[in-house]
Structures are given as structure tokens and as C-alpha cells.
């Protein structure tokens, strides 16, 4: 299946992915209303230094350790997508402690959130991918994930 991959060679650290993510998951129709004057809680984030930068979001691991570790049974994987049931999550951060990618972070309410490939949104491809101006984030099928 298609997953999000990053290519740090082309990442410009413009941080647009974070804003597009925050907007896409806001449920609000326009970005200005959604994000103006507020801190953002994106499910993807840019890491790096002056030399390199790249966007990190959930890898949707084949054998996701976060699913095994969640003390609330709130994380599950179905149809290849690792998802969080935000109703069940209590924000204990155990998933943060185990995820080797640093792909999970709390939302504004302290409840965990993570990239779910924009499946819940009306986008045909994840917002970060769609909005990346340099194709540093791509949504594609790769070897071993057919």
C-alpha cells in the first residue's frame, strides 16, 4: 500500500507540511480560521539542523511497537494504517517512549495523535504530501509494502 516517505535531499524545512497537517486535521474549512493566532499541533514535524532537514510522521510499521505498548488499547492497526482511538487514549505517553521514530505527539488536549494518512479527511492524498512544494514528502508504494 501507499505510505508517506520523506526524501531529505529535497526537504527545504519550510514547515508547510506541519501547517497543512494541522489544517487538514482541524476540520475547519479554511486555513486562516483553523490556524491563525493558535499554536499548531501537527502530526508531522520537521527535524534537522542547518544542513539537513526532513519531515517525520508515522511509519505505519509492519509490527508496530506502539500498538503492543499502548496501555489503553487505544492504538490499533487496520488496513495497514496505525490509528489512535482518541476516545480511549489517556495521554500516558507510553507510545512516545517506545516509538523509535518520534512519530507520536500529544494534541492540544494532551491526548495523543499521529499521522493516519489523512484517511479521515477528504483529501485523496495526505495533506503534507499534497502541499509539499518540493516533493520531499511523497505518498507511494515501495518495495516490501505491496
Amino acid at each position: 500500500m501507499k505510505l508517506i516517505y520523506v526524501n531529505e535531499e529535497w526537504c527545504l524545512a519550510c514547515h508547510l507540511c506541519e501547517y497543512n497537517c494541522a489544517f487538514a486535521n482541524s476540520g475547519v474549512r479554511d486555513m486562516v480560521t483553523a490556524l491563525k493566532g493558535k499554536p499548531i499541533f501537527p502530526r508531522i514535524h520537521i527535524e534537522g539542523d542547518e544542513k539537513i532537514s526532513f519531515a517525520v510522521s508515522c511509519r505505519h510499521c509492519t509490527d508496530p511497537i506502539c500498538v503492543k505498548s499502548c496501555i489503553a488499547g487505544a492504538i490499533s492497526k487496520s488496513d495497514g494504517v496505525v490509528r489512535i482511538d482518541r476516545e480511549k487514549c489517556v495521554g500516558c505517553l507510553t507510545c512516545v517512549l517506545v516509538c523509535p521514530f518520534g512519530a507520536l505527539s500529544p494534541g492540544e488536549d494532551g491526548i495523543m495523535q499521529k499521522c493516519e494518512l489523512c484517511i479521515q479527511n477528504s483529501f485523496d492524498e495526505p495533506a503534507c504530501v499534497k502541499g509539499c512544494p518540493n516533493k520531499a514528502i511523497v505518498y507511494e508504494e515501495r518495495e516490501g509494502n505491496k
Binding site: E9, W10, L12, A13, C14, H15, L16, Y19, N20, F23, M31, V32, L35, K36, G37, G131, P133, N134, K135, A136
Partner: protein, 501 residues
């Protein structure tokens, strides 16, 4: 300040209602126009640094930005226009030659726009490109004057070396150094995919791009940067650059600051040294010298590559072209006065040379008058802006067109005309790695391929309309053109009738 002050040319208009202070504009502006005021949590800008490259406008996720021309103007004067006065100020401030980039922006006549194309009605049928084959393939190179047969009366099918193009367009010379590695990668990959050629320009060929050799024209210019045997052999054709439309009679100068790393290696000159291209080739002071260089290059490559000679369109271009056609060159490339450049003295760019349309018409007719048009192919460039320009150029007599500005636009160039600063925010005319990476060749090459495919479709539509199903039947087919709003003399030079005739 004071007498030296020149009011900024552009204004950054930020819609505060829309700005979410994501700071993308700040991160993306190499000119450091935008910055975040932490105290008030708002974005502010220093428009004196703005070159109107539109990078921030394009990336602003909420469309909160626009760049407009400043309306702070000097008192109106039709003779002393604002720009003219400001240029005086700049020169009074600096004492220097004014520099600019890209093509002549002045309102000079664009003959393409005064030429209209024919279409079939009733007496012969227009053709539907999707239904009927429409051929755009061209071969550039010298054609034999007489056919020969062997002892069994079979045709001898050997032809002098040719360049095969899937459509009559090539990407014109832009050197590695004046444009970025990724720009070159985009051009090379796109040319390969489309089945046309790109041109290395005078900066040598980066080792990574030797593999695109079949789709490469390698250039030999007066500076001879990066020229050696492997380089000459790498391309499908060799171009001797005698001149450039944007700056006829002028050499080139790439500052040492840009001669770093791979650029220095590829040019084969020390890091930090200025790359000076002399105005003339110092081994070519006359046409017979050109002939010697042409044949030297042919010798060096065993007569396997067509040799192109590129000249700027100047007043006696027809005679020059005739001389080149008789020099042994296989292809002549003519660059009109609206052609682009990475840097040129403004006055030269805006005042030297002639329009490519007139040069093309004059050269094509002259070569026909001399009966040598089939001995040489004719490529023209210098502001070919659309498929319509291509069709008009072919009908006037060109074999193919060179495009460069259009290609750069496809790559993201917004024609801010400040290439000379090296701070191209689109990653094109820069060697700054942070900026270069902004041009992802995956995107760049795709956009070039898109552009060329679009043009190819349009060219086919034009051809279909004219009832022509192969591009060679359009070549020199001036009956397919009519002029509007031109003088008798202009029409005569172009060899076309006025509309209605």
C-alpha cells in the same frame, strides 16, 4: 540615504487577516525580506530587499501575500521615464555599468505577434491530430547535395552526422555555473525523455550528466571552459558559441564567488578564480579561422558529430550566416536580441542586435538565394515564447527553435531578472546549496516534459489546421503566414504577405 536614496521598486502587501505567521515566507526568502517580530508576534518585511521573485507569494499557504509595484513614482515624464531616471541615480551612486539578467524587457516590436497563421477551409481539409498521424520529428545537419549509388545501383544511404529531434525545439545553452546543478539535471532528464537536446552552455559538463550525452549539445565558447576530448565526445553535437543575442559583441564574466566545488571542477579552473569569456575567440578573427575550428572539432570527433555555430542576430546576419554555411558547419544557431542571459550589461542587452524574426527571414532567404539552404540547418532562439512562435519560426524557415527562458519559467523562474545576484529563490540561477535544493529535478524535468508535450500538441493542432501532417512541410512555408500592422518593408524582409492579401 539622502541623494542616494532610491525608493524600493516593490511593495510587500501582507493581508494581516490572512497571515497565520507560519514564517514560510521568512524561511524561503534568500533576500531576507521577511522576518518575524517576536514582540508583536507578527510578520514584517523589508521591501527594499525584495526583487519580486514571487517565491513567498507562491508558498504562502493562506495567500496572505502579494508583491506589487510601488506607486511611489517620480513626476511623470514621457521622455525621462521613471526607470531611466533611477538608472541615472544608480550610476551616479556607483559609477558602474548597469547589470541585468534575462531578456530585453523593453517594449520593442515582437514580430511573432504581428504574424498570423493560416488554416484550411473547404478547398483542402484540416486534419485531426488525434485521428491522423502528425509528425514533428526533425533531423538537423548538412544534407548531401547529390545522391550516390553503388555499383549495383543501390542508393548509398550514408548521410553526414545528424541530430534527431522528436519535435523542433531544443533547450538552449545555459552553463553550469550560471544555473544550478539541479537545473541542468532537470534539462538533461527532460531532454532525454522528450527526445530532444539540451545544451551545456560554456561551463563544461558535470560528470553526472555524461550519461545524457545522446541528448546533449556540448558548447565550445571563447573561454573554452571544461573543453577536452571526453567532453567533445560526450555530446550528440558540438556548438561553437560565437555570440549571444542578449549581449552581442560582449564576453562573459562569472565571478569567482560562483566558481566553487563542482563548478570549478567542471569548468576546469581553480576555485575562486573569475571565469572570463573573452568577447572574441582569440583564435577566430575571421571566417576562415572559424572554418579551421569547425574542422578541428570534426577531426577531434572523427566527423561523427554535427558542428553548430551560434551567433547573435546582428545587422548583417544574412551574410554572416552565408559565411558560416560555407565554413563546414552543419547547423547555424541564431540568437535574437530578446534572448536571455544570466548577466549582461543592461545597455548592451537593450540596444544591441536585431529581432530574431527578421534575422531568421533574412538568413533563410539568403541561404536559398545562394542555393545552400539544404547544406545547413537553421536553429533560432531569442525569446521563443510559445508553440505559436515555434510554428511561425518554422514557417519562416527555421529547422528548429532554441528555448531557454521558457524552459526556466517551467522550472519555476518568475523572471525577476536578478540572476546576477546568485540568490535565486527558485534554485535555478544560484550555486548556494540551500537554494539549489529547492529545485527538485523530479519536479523540474516533469514540468519541462509537460511544457514540451503541451507545445507538441499545440504544434500538431496548428499543423492539422493547415492540413500539414509533417513538420518538414511547414518549414519555410511562408504562404502559411500573413502579417498585420507591418510596413511594406517589414513584410518584404519577412517574405510574407499582409493579412487579406
Amino acid at each position: 540615504m539622502g541623494v542616494e536614496f532610491i525608493y524600493p521598486e516593490f511593495e510587500v502587501i501582507r493581508n494581516e487577516n490572512r497571515c497565520i505567521a507560519c514564517r514560510v515566507c521568512e524561511r524561503q526568502c534568500a533576500n531576507e525580506v521577511h522576518f518575524f517580530n517576536t514582540e508583536h508576534s507578527v510578520m514584517v518585511s523589508d521591501e527594499s530587499k525584495c526583487v519580486n521573485c514571487q517565491r513567498c507569494v507562491s508558498l504562502c499557504p493562506t495567500r496572505a501575500l502579494k508583491i506589487v509595484k510601488s506607486d511611489c513614482t517620480l513626476r511623470e515624464n514621457s521622455n525621462w521615464e521613471n526607470d531611466t531616471i533611477k538608472e541615472i541615480y544608480k550610476q551616479a551612486n556607483s559609477g558602474g555599468v548597469l547589470l541585468s539578467s534575462m531578456g530585453n524587457p523593453r517594449p520593442m516590436p515582437v514580430y511573432w505577434d504581428k504574424i498570423l497563421i493560416n488554416a484550411s477551409q473547404v478547398t483542402n481539409p484540416p486534419l485531426d491530430p488525434p485521428r491522423e498521424p502528425m509528425e514533428t520529428r526533425v533531423f538537423l545537419g548538412r544534407k548531401p547535395e547529390k545522391i550516390e549509388r553503388d555499383e549495383t545501383d543501390k542508393l548509398k544511404c550514408e548521410i553526414p552526422p545528424q541530430i534527431e529531434l522528436s519535435m523542433p525545439v531544443m533547450f538552449s545553452a545555459m552553463s553550469y555555473g550560471s544555473i544550478s546543478y539541479n537545473a541542468h539535471a532537470s534539462l538533461a532528464r527532460a531532454a532525454t525523455e522528450i527526445g530532444i537536446l539540451y545544451n551545456t552552455g560554456e561551463g563544461g559538463l558535470h560528470e553526472d550528466f555524461y550519461r545524457y550525452g545522446k541528448n546533449t549539445v556540448v558548447q565550445v565558447a571563447s573561454g573554452r571552459f571544461g573543453v577536452y576530448k571526453d567532453y567533445l565526445e560526450a555530446g550528440a553535437a558540438i556548438e561553437i558559441k560565437m555570440g549571444q543575442g542578449a549581449k552581442p559583441g560582449i564576453g562573459g564574466h562569472l565571478p569567482g564567488a560562483k566558481i566553487i566545488g563542482d563548478v570549478s571542477k567542471t569548468r576546469m579552473i581553480p576555485e575562486g578564480s573569475d571565469a572570463i569569456s573573452p568577447a572574441p575567440h582569440h583564435d577566430i578573427y575571421s571566417i576562415e579561422d572559424l572554418r579551421q575550428l569547425v574542422f578541428s572539432l570534426k577531426e577531434a570527433t572523427e566527423y561523427k558529430k554535427p558542428i553548430m555555430v551560434k551567433v547573435a542576430a546582428v545587422h548583417n546576419i544574412a551574410a554572416i550566416a552565408s559565411g558560416i554555411a560555407r565554413s563546414g558547419a552543419d547547423i547555424i544557431a541564431i540568437d535574437g536580441f530578446r534572448g536571455g542571459t544570466g548577466a549582461a550589461p543592461t545597455r548592451i542587452r537593450d540596444n544591441v542586435g536585431i529581432p530574431i524574426e527578421l534575422a531568421l527571414a533574412a538568413v533563410d532567404q539568403r541561404l536559398r538565394d545562394e542555393g545552400i539552404r539544404n547544406n545547413i540547418s537553421l536553429v533560432i532562439g531569442g525569446s521563443v515564447r510559445s508553440s505559436a512562435d515555434v510554428v511561425k519560426a518554422i514557417a519562416l524557415g527555421a529547422d528548429a527553435c532554441y528555448i531557454a527562458t521558457a524552459a526556466l519559467l517551467a522550472l519555476g523562474c518568475h523572471l525577476c531578472r536578478t540572476c546576477q545576484s546568485g540568490k535565486c529563490n527558485w534554485g535555478i540561477a544560484t550555486q548556494n546549496p540551500e537554494l539549489v535544493k529547492r529545485l527538485n529535478p523530479d519536479i523540474g524535468s516533469k514540468r519541462l516534459v509537460n511544457l514540451m508535450n503541451a507545445w507538441r500538441h499545440e504544434i500538431k493542432e496548428f499543423m492539422g489546421g493547415m492540413g500539414i501532417n509533417s513538420i518538414e512541410a511547414l518549414r519555410g512555408n511562408r504562404l502559411m503566414l500573413r502579417g498585420i500592422g507591418m510596413t511594406e518593408k517589414e513584410l518584404e524582409i519577412l517574405g510574407i504577405s499582409h493579412a487579406g492579401e
